[in-house]
Amino acid sequence: MTTNEEATQNKTDRERATAQRRRDKGTRKSVLLADRAAGWGITAGGLLVIFAVIGIMVFLVAVALPLGGGGETLEHAEYDLPAKQTVWLNADEYSTLGVRVADDGSYRVFHLTTGRSVSSGQLDFGGERATAIGGVLNRDRVAFGFQDGSIRFADLIFEADVLLQSDLPDGAEPLDQRDRLAGEAIYSNLPGEQVRRLRFRAETQAPVAVADAPIVALAYRVGGTTERPTRSFVTVDAEGVGRLSRAISKLNIMTSELTTEVRTTDLPPLPADTQVTTVELTTLADTVLVASDAGQIFRFDARDFNHPTLSETITAFDDGSTISAMEFLNGEQALVVGGSNGALDVYFKLSPEQGAAPDGYKLVRARQHEPHGAAVTAISVSQRSKSLVTEAANGEVWVRHSTSDQVLLRYDHGGKQAVDSELLLLPRVDGVVRVASTGEGDFWAFDYPHPETTLDAVFGKIWYEGYDQPTYTWQSSSGTDVFEPKYSLVPLIFGTIKATVYSLVFAIPIGLLGAIYTAEFVHRRVRATVKPMMETMESMPTVVVGFIAALVLAPIVETWIAAVLLAFIALPMGLMLAAFLWQLLPLQTALKLDGLPKFFFMFATILLSLYVAYNLGPAFESGFFYSDFMAWTNGDIGTGTPFMFLVFLPVGFFVARWLVHRVFGDRLRDYQRGLTKSHAGALDFLRWAGLLAAAVVLSLAAASALTALGFDPRGGVVDTYVQRNALVVGFVMGFAIIPTIYSLAEDALSSVPDHVRSASLASGATPWQTAKWVIVPTALSGIFAACMIGMGRAVGETMIVLMAAGNTPVLDWNIFNGLRTLSANIAVELPEAPQGGTHYRMLFLAGLTLFVMTFTINTIAENIRLRFRKRAFQL
């Protein structure tokens, strides 16, 4: 059918249709509807991407935000207990019950939130009143000292067991939403139709005579194993005599009789007229600290139980104030000292290199917390964290966190003066109990989820327990309870930057130079093979690269380190040498070999240079690094001269070149013009050799001069060698980002319009001149963007650094040391971080930091790239 016929046919059809009925010219409803729906759907879908980006950011922020947020007081209850001199407080694990022990041995168990009395009883004090008290950190084992110089031990124990809801006794009286009271027990609702029964039990043991005079200060610790506990205690009596005692209980298996043997040794006498206020003892019983009202702390070294010695005496406060309260933070690494001037300082027992006491230690004031307005009267420390609560004589009750040096919550007890009150921070750090001798009881329940983190703690230096000075440290977890988490992101950010910098040092030269060569100097067909190959490498799983890096490359580099370092010199040298030799070729031969053959010669040159480096490696090591590279990096042998010489070599070369060209440049060139190519090449070769010699002389002089001035590169970018190090990471991660940089830079270069290229070539410029003065400057912003995007990839790369970087969060630029990046840190720690905890949120903050870093880098790169593209199109 011809077109004409078709048209006619159509026409007749249409006429017929019109004849039959009036044709509906409108579009069908369903089509319109589909069109509209698709339009909406697609627009919504398109905008979803924006929401995805914003959503990720918002979510990360939302999770990380509570880190900086404070806490809140959930409730405050006041109640009255019998007016008695309170000596000890304890509460159960679940913040349900409290027990107050008075100096006459009577105790009362009360419900914390309501103050409702649950039970009461009497410890066997033999009618005496306690004059001193000491207890373990968990507060369930207590020792009381008496007027007659005797000691009694008591256990104040909360027993918890879980029952089914159906076991709840009838007639239980509801106290609050969770708890019910029945008999002398509290029943708390648990999820899953269960209840927890809590009861209190107290036991007193027979008195042990220790001193002749009334005991004024007492410290008590229980060490050893659960089966064979070692109870140690220190007493100071009214005559100022200090005694260290150790009680070992043995259970006779035959008679099941418990015998306690107490051994006591006298501490060296304190200076006369010393009024002891408090004593402290470590669980191992190797250190005794005695505080006096003159503001002095006496530290006794009791590692030899039979011969304790006075190691050190310090004055706690500069103004000589009395030490009114003193307590170990949990872990017994840090001593909190409160003064009558309201100051609250923390001392660490460190072993400094200088100024140590005879036993090698020294008490150092590490932290000065915000002072109270009046004398500190009581300190209660947390059993699980570095939180504590302090009370001052003016009625202030402050909940603090020692590591992050902040006052979390401030309670003012209605301006009332504190009268002999006892203070207790609940085991879960979710409440404070205060009972005054008047019987006034206060209970504050609070929620402060992340006391460890402040802006200062995350990004600033903190003086952690056991450290000699404030540091940036990341150490998020450890096996023990008494561990102080260290959440400084600085080492991780530093590690990220270090890895990025070293990998860019490798990747940028190879990626960019290779891209320029591909775009400007190779045949289209070579380019069509090379580029897809490099692009395929871009999607190479980094886990594979990391595996090769860590298990194959790292050991090789370690064995052949000298050869590897030599390769950095041999490669450029070999290429230069080959280039100058190439210039010696007659013009015709050179032209004939141009293109692919020349490229193969380049390959050969590289292989040859690597082979030379491999063979000369040991000689290089003995010549430059005194035959032992590892020992050299440690700083054990030799000087820094040879290394600096190597570093200065390229610098020296460029300086020499600049100088020579300044003076002889034009003359040399003019002379060259008169020669044939081979002769000119020979001249150029000589010039290069001369420059090289000059460079050697220059850099040797510079290196020797610097060594003479006492400068040594070791300790900075070169230091002790570790197998998984930044050199390997830089090399391998560089390898992983080369394709990105290469591909994007090549895109930028080849999108410079061809007419620009043609114009330059037509004006007589050589391809090299065209590339150098026309193409690269035009594409410069695109090339820069390529580097930025490569950098973005390096910043976020995880698997390679995780496997090859050793993951040590250290702050040094040493190329032979490991590092830990933000990304590797997240990968290692997030699976183990409990949801919602400080650690979890800190890792989200690390993720957010990464996100922000890459977002910034990418946005800048993208803007540059867009601008470049606009410019390239305008050309």
Binding site: M534, M537, V543, R673, T766, W768, Q769, R793, L850
Partner: protein, 581 residues
Amino acid sequence: MSTNTETTSNHAEPKPGMNAASRRYTTDLTATGEPFLWGLGGALALGILLVVGFLVLIFWNGIATFWPKPIEVVTLNSGTVVAGEPTRDNVFKPGDGLLERLTEQDREIIDSNVGFAHRVLYRTGNYDLYNEDFRWVSDFEIAKVETPPGMYLFERQEWGVFIGRIAGLVLDGESRNLSDYDRAAIQEQQEAARERFEEIRHIERDEIGEVNYYMEQARLDLKRVALDHGRDSGEYRQAERETEQQITELQREYEQLAARAEAIKETDRRYRITLEEIGGEQKELPLSEIVRFYPANDLSPFGKAAVYFSRWGEFLTSEPREANTEGGVLPAIFGTVAMTLIMVVFVAPLGVITALYLREYAKQGRLVSIVRISVNNLAGVPSIVYGVFGLGFFAYTLGGGIDALFYPERLPSPTFGTGGILWASLTLALLTVPVVIVASEEALSAVPRSMREGSLACGASTWQTLRRVVLPRAMPGIMTGLILAMARGAGEVAPLMLVGVVKLAPELPVDGFFPYVHLERSFMHLGFHIFDVGFQSRNSEAGKPMVYVTTMLLLALIVLMNASAIYIRNRLKKRFAGSAF
């Protein structure tokens, strides 16, 4: 243009007064920039060399791993005899202490090699006897090396390989004379024993596993009733009765199965083999414990090839053993493929729709540039950040919500509220969506304007034009994008470590139990397998061959996907290419 070029061209001009006919071509080597060209070319060559070297390293090691090596028996100077497969060799620097103990002659050799000595790593196996799998033997220690016949390599179900000889055989409870049984006969027995082993495993894992599954289901159903109606309700009591009955039934079934397994085990115990290592120490074990054995030094090339392919077969079709360092990677292959496919289901619509929006719907303006910036940022966000987001948002927030709504009876152990294949796929979909967007956009823009206009002129609506004209034409390009996204997704490991990849997943995400596809389950992944075996196993040296093969497999998968994508792209370019300068 800079002044320098101008000077150069000035110089090139003939000097005034010179005859134009006798113009001389001058040499200016700075213009050619030969050293610089070599620098540029050298960089490219180095880059290519690195890439090629990298691929060769992996493929060579991957391909060679399963080829049976000879077993060398090395007699040391000290009289000790070591038998093992030479695995690799290297040179090392002996420490001063070691050097002192050497003979003068050895020291001279080392000195002539500038302080380096050569050594070979032997895979000695017999971990249960030696407490190590590998042993370095330095050249100066060796008295003689032989490859005697009759040395066998046994791959065992547990304890890794055994290298030694066969010292005894017990068949059906009777000790047999070894001379009556040649290798083929023993092999036949071993294969029969292996079949018994497989059957025991089938009963214990699959059939008893099924019974356990139904028991657990019954308990969960009961718990559900308790949650819905309370423990005191009539429904609960009835359900309790039913459940009890069901469980008793299942228990009976279980006992039957266990008895059947025990019977086979009883038979199995009567077939045993005694192995003897080179030092003469013997070890008796059930024949079924031996997965594969061959006389390493007596094999013909065909025999070696048979072992080689049998190992590949095991690798591709079975489950890992020995803490993933031996056996196969089938679950990992399955997990990788399943996750990638689920990912595509999510990423395809999202990516294509966004591309459609950018190309066909949006008016170029501020909004579009914001979308573009977002796309580029999505592409630039580190993969681990997606993992963090995936864990926090998908697993904990979304998954936690799903658990609270639909699976309250399983709490507090999470169902969807922890990492799983669904969340991993979603996370990776987010990660790879930019790839699809960019590729789809390219494909859409390659559709000539005239085709759209033609369609619109015929009266088609925008959507009709898109659906009938533009999309079909752009489809190959979009497919390219999807394949690239799959390649990217299949190679990502870091985010998966947070959202559901595990070292060993006993249950695949697809099985015979309703609803057959379990998207909440954690899974194994080839990339993570590499990390795990290479870095977290007992002996990374023992796992190395496995890592190489797995790496090769993963790499082959990804290179294949990329190559096909590039192939499609190039073909399209040719087909649609206009005139280019």
